[in-house]
């Protein structure tokens, strides 16, 4: 082999390990699952021994009340969590965007909840929500108020609160970074024109931050559909089906009910949803970049 053809092969050498591993352990499993979702599939069978059932798994799910309940719970959970986190996170970022001593320490402490294992987060919150020994109920009874059955009567809300605790810092940190990279000139100009703090936020800061905020929103929304361990440890999906999000339902359908075909169809629904969100994000950033380029081009022509 001469040097030139060796050079031409270089990118493939670099790419090969990743391509092989992703092909066998990511893309093949995904295709395998799509294939399996059209079959009556029992864990004891090999996939090629199973019967083809067409769309039966999918249509059965659409009539399955437990599945529909779980979809509702998932959407409620993801929607509430992301909106609340956006409001609190962006609000805090606007409030704390000042030169204060120890900002880096603050950010470090804020990251902590995100880095700790979801299993451990679930564990701590389950303990804090404990009906008699948990910290919340102790405080409530110390204040002379009645106890709240956090993980019983208000399970979904309690799970949502725990997620807000864990992930608001993510939005806070991203929007703080966006705020601090805003062009100082625009803010300066507004201040000279006598804009109040509130006007600056509404008319200048938020519109300028919008691209980052939209991407952050989508990233967080995608992640909110992946949450599993925290809820598993806190409530195991209960009581009843009140906190059984889709990811948990898939795991239970596969492991407890041993309906692999149905679980695969369910996974496909989830995957489809996430795919739409991801492509939406992808399209949005492409559009953003194109717009930035156009603006640059215009600016250069004028300059």
């Amino acid at each position: 082999m001469n040097r030139q053809s060796l050079n031409r092969l270089t990118p493939y050498f670099f790419m090969a390990p990743a391509a092989v591993i992703m092909a066998i352990a990511l893309f093949y499993p995904l295709l395998y699952m799509m294939f399996g979702s059209f079959r009556a599939w029992d864990p004891s069978q090999r996939l090629n021994e199973t019967d083809f059932v067409g769309l039966a798994n999918y249509t059965k799910l659409l009539r399955d009340e437990a599945f529909l309940e779980s979809v509702t719970v998932t959407l409620t959970f993801a929607g509430t969590v992301v909106v609340a986190e956006m409001l609190i996170g962006v609000g805090l970022a606007l409030l704390l965007d000042r030169k204060i001593r120890g900002m880096s320490v603050l950010r470090t402490l804020f990251i902590l909840p995100m880095m700790i294992a979801p299993v451990v987060v679930g564990l701590v919150w389950r303990f804090m929500y404990h009906p008699t020994d948990g910290i919340f109920n102790r405080w409530l009874s110390a204040l002379g108020l009645g106890r709240v059955d956090w993980l019983g009567d208000h399970a979904l809300m309690s799970v949502i609160i725990a997620d807000i605790w864990q992930w608001t810092p993510f939005i806070f940190i991203l929007s703080l970074a966006a705020l601090q990279s805003l062009p100082r000139t625009a803010l300066e100009a507004a201040r000279i024109d006598g804009a109040t703090g509130w006007q600056q936020i509404v008319h200048i800061k938020l519109p300028l931050m919008a691209p980052v905020l939209i991407v952050t929103f989508l990233l967080r929304l995608i992640d909110a559909f992946k949450v599993l361990e925290v809820i598993l440890v806190m409530t195991e999906g209960g009581p009843g089906l009140s906190t059984e999000i889709l990811a948990l339902r898939i795991a239970r359908t596969a492991q407890e009910f041993r309906e692999l075909g149905e679980a695969a169809a369910m996974s496909n629904y989830l995957l489809l949803l996430l795919m739409v969100l991801t492509l939406g994000m992808f399209a949005f950033t492409r559009w953003q970049e194109a717009r930035a380029q156009r603006l640059n081009a215009v600016k250069q022509e004028e300059g």
Binding site: M33, L47, A117, V119, V120, L123, A177, T278
Partner: protein, 313 residues
């Protein structure tokens, strides 16, 4: 503003808010830490929670299978956290190292070379970044137990079984390698994509200078490019390690008694009606230590990784 280099003076209410925020964000972690040193009696009855006799008994119970002495309060070692800890460590470290090596090579190829198949690979990598573990559960469970097995009637399978023991076919499920493989595959898209943004910033002229001096493409990569993207590697390493270390679902589907990781153990021990809070909190604390260390010492890299994620969706 006259003195921009100085910190602004703030209203006391502002500092009160800061203190409250800090308390809220680390309070639960401190609660975990404190309770892991309490006996169950103190956890259940303990009034304000700060006056108690700290004990390491919980840690002894949790780690009883790898301690060099026998804790006196135990007559039977029920929770084998030590072994799980070692499993977690092996799986997380090996998968992080492999993901990084494989990932940065791929990222380099995608950034620096024009080749057939570049666009589709790049797009596919981006598209599968969001695949949740729950979606992979069914196929991985099926494949790792059936398709990715070496039949023990074949030469290789028989040899492996003779050497390492065991019954039936030789499968990926139940081995460290099986869990590591899926973690690498799961993390690769993210790592490739985040390293791309760092490699783009390496000036081309440096690489060309090295090439003029007679370095081959691999030398250029390992000796010139890699040292320059260390911050990116650090960020990618932390995120990969975090996922491999914390992941529960896929590990629980693939692990057997001997390859169990710590999160599985925690979930198994909390699903009982009577939770032994002290021991389980000590276990949780041990699981939380590596991420806490990363956060305290590499928060800048973590923030870089996170912001790169949002700014360049």
């Amino acid at each position: 503003m006259a003195n921009t280099s100085q910190h602004d003076r703030q209203n006391p209410a502002f500092y009160a808010l800061l203190v409250a925020l800090i308390f809220m964000s680390i309070g639960p972690v401190i609660l975990l830490f404190v309770n892991s040193f309490k006996l169950d009696v103190d956890i259940i009855s303990g009034g304000s929670g700060l006056f108690f006799l700290p004990t390491i008994q919980n840690y002894e119970t949790a780690l009883c299978d790898i301690l060099w002495y026998e804790p006196e309060h135990l007559d039977f070692c029920a929770i084998r956290f030590g072994g799980a800890f070692i499993n977690s460590l092996i799986i997380a470290l090996v998968s992080t190292v492999l993901t990084l090596i494989i990932g940065c090579m791929a990222a380099y190829a995608l950034v620096r070379f024009r080749f057939i198949g570049r666009e589709p690979i790049s797009f596919a990598t981006l598209a599968v970044r969001m695949v949740p573990p729950a979606v992979l559960l069914v196929p991985v469970f099926g494949l790792w137990n059936n398709a990715f097995c070496i039949d023990n009637a074949t030469l290789v399978g028989g040899w492996i079984r003779d050497v390492f023991g065991g019954r039936g076919d030789v499968c990926l499920a139940g081995t460290h390698m099986g869990i590591i493989l899926i973690y690498i595959a799961m993390n690769l898209p993210f790592v490739i994509w985040i390293l791309q943004s760092f490699i783009v910033q390496v000036p081309r002229s440096l690489e060309e200078a090295a090439r003029v001096d007679g370095a081959g493409p691999f030398q250029v990569f390992f000796l010139v490019v890699l040292p320059l993207i260390k911050p990116g590697l650090a960020a990618a390493a932390i995120f990969t390690f975090r996922i491999a270390w914390n992941e529960y679902l896929l590990a629980s589907a693939l692990a057997d008694r001997n390859t169990m990781t710590v999160p599985i153990l925690i979930v198994n021990n909390t699903s009982e009606f009577n939770v032994e809070w002290g021991v389980i909190m000590a276990t949780g604390m041990l699981l939380a230590i590596p991420p806490i260390i990363f956060t305290l010492f590499a928060s800048r890299q973590i923030i870089t990784g996170m912001t790169a994620g949002a700014v360049k969706g």
